[in-house]
Amino acid sequence: MKREIVVEPMSRVEGEGSIHIQIENGKVKKVHFNILEGTRLIETLVIGKTPEEEVSIACRICAICTLSHRYAALRALEKALGIKIHAKAHWMRTLMHLGEFLESNALHVFLLALPDFFGYPSAIAMLDKYAEEVTQGLEIKKFGNKIMRLTSGRMIHGENPTIGGFGKYLDKETLLALQKEADALLPFAERAVHLLGKLDFPSYFEEETTFMCCEPENGEYGIVGDRIRISDGEVVPVEEYQRLTNEMFSPHSSAKHCLYKGKPYTVGALARMNNLGERLNGVASTLFETYWNKRWLKNPLYNNVAQAIELVWCLQQIPFVIENILEHVDDPPLAKPTRNTGEGVGAVEAPRGTLYHHYWIKDGLVAKANLIIPTGQSLEDLEKYMRKAVEALLQQNADDETLRLQSEMIARAYDPCISCSTHLVSLERI
């Protein structure tokens, strides 16, 4: 007997995806997370462009993590051109990056994950019983959007962060207001961690895996670095990213898949929390100590709790980052290139994981580019956990509805999309 379970469309970052599960005579034959997104060939479009033009193209890859793309591109291009940015520019970039994490993590935690775990079709439907939690979550998201708009010049694809620094800096009054707002929102984020941290996640598909994230230069918890920390203890310069990611083609996906030493790995909030969580301080540290346990190393559903703890961390960081911006009264001019030929790799953590941009510049124009996105890196692990879940559930004679819901929940835990696609699953029996 053949069974086929199709989840299509399942929206994800930047577009179209679906889940396809085939079962034959009680055995799992195929578990695919199909990436159906139209191909854009971004790497080929930036060739022959100036570094400034490149940055304007690269950020258009994604509207949700537009600033992570911009930041990774700037880091890579500034290395290639021998540019050292001013400290004020560095702290402004940190602020914009934190804004994006607030926006993206809050969207996933409150609009996608919460309804899943509390058995509601959408966040809107939760309003009757959980009005405070949902509206507080949306306040955090709105604050993230506000920081993105103020630092980058507009809500999405703002061009203000540019090669060598910023076109315009924020005034003191605006920064002080943001500081206050971050303090006021902190208890909301804390509450979300308690709500998610107390959930009892299913364990039948658990298995250890490898986690990767940026290793911050200051040795603290962070989302930027020139080295990559791997959960097996290795710390590798970002220049060696190809050895870590081993991008390869997969026929059911227009996003390339990645393997580390021939095995799948996970990037994103869970990877950061597992690799760096012990370095947290303040409230975020207390929450980590309360809720982290060894199952986080084996179960992707904890990504949701990790994202919530990161919301707390971001809100804790913002006042500190703003103080650092305020230390520099004068706005520095854009730092200039010291050469017009060179190569550079830039890595940052995007909300969904490590993002690599690699450029070769020749005579002031881009000669070659290579980009590796987080979603592609986690795809093999996502499929592995879905397969394990389906295999285990078949042992318990689970019906199609259960198989569908559980595999969707695992896929969604990886935060592949912001869409509230809670009931977009179609089921076919063969």
């Binding site: 469309p9 191909t39 854009r40 033009e53 709105k142 999405i156």
Partner: protein, 263 residues
């Protein structure tokens, strides 16, 4: 309005970054009114109980990058009284439709090799108008929320929407920005459609051209302004090509005088 039934509308997304639909979703202050003023029948980015029925207006974001999308777009067109393209991808094909060499086929091979995608049949990225009649096109990468809600309100009341027909330069003057060209910074604002509020020049940065080329009577002199400043046709074309997609060559064809003499 009270006797008249609310319009049935749908919002759809093809290949791009979802940024245009997100601009609408991020507009918390207008979103509730937007939701109440029409029957939102389909908006899969925001809700799951979608109905694919006859529509008064379909708003479509994104470019068409495979045969399956082209088929879906035609299906949406067949049941919609009006079809509105929103954003640079839908209007011009977006950055992925940028006019570059080598050809799309050669670049596709460079990225995917001889591998064959099982799930979709890729085609060179195209704007919506390559496949269906587009009744109105709202440019921008991403669209501007104010422009969208203004257009939406005009459509609700049965008016023909009207877009600004002036370049970014005009908005810069209204904002009393210092002209970047006078400071020796290469800015293509003179030949780019306004509507963004001159956001980049207001940050002291040159226009990136994300609203596409301006179509307006005085574009000859604007073009000549750039030429007089010493910028080469090659540089202007390269900068303008980034966000103009398939609109670039069409624009060059359409423009009279100075611009067309260059091609």
């Amino acid at each position: 309005m009270d006797k008249k039934e609310k319009l049935n509308i749908g919002l759809y997304g093809f290949t791009g970054c979802n940024g245009d639909q997100l601009v609408i979703l991020h507009s918390e202050d207008q979103l509730l009114d937007f939701w109440k003023s029409a029957n939102i029948k389909s908006f899969s980015l925001a809700k799951s109980d979608n109905e694919e029925i006859e529509l008064d207006i379909a708003f479509v974001e994104g470019s068409i990058c495979n045969e399956e999308q082209a088929k879906h777009l035609k299906e949406i067109r067949s049941r919609s009284k009006l079809l509105i393209a929103i954003g640079a991808c839908a209007c011009y094909g977006g950055i992925q439709a940028m006019e570059v060499s080598p050809s799309w086929e050669e670049r596709f091979k460079a990225v995917y090799g001889e591998n064959v995608l099982e799930v979709r049949t890729p085609i060179p990225p195209q704007p919506l108008s390559a496949f269906v009649k587009v009744d109105f096109a709202l440019p921008g990468c991403p669209i501007d929320a104010k422009q969208f809600f203004l257009m939406f309100t005009q459509l609700l009341h049965g008016h023909t929407p009207h877009l600004p027909d002036y370049p970014v330069c005009a908005e810069c003057r209204w904002k009393e920005n210092d002209c970047l060209l006078l400071k020796g910074i290469f800015c293509i604002g003179p030949v780019v459609a306004g509507g963004c509020g001159a956001v980049c020049p207001s940050h002291g940065l040159p226009c990136v051209g994300c609203w596409g080329p301006v179509v307006e009577g005085n574009v000859d002199s604007q073009w000549n302004l750039l030429k007089e400043k010493g910028y080469s046709l090659e540089a202007i074309k390269r900068r303008l090509s980034i966000h103009s997609g398939k609109g670039l060559s069409e624009w060059f064809k359409k423009m009279a005088g100075a611009v067309s003499n260059e091609t």
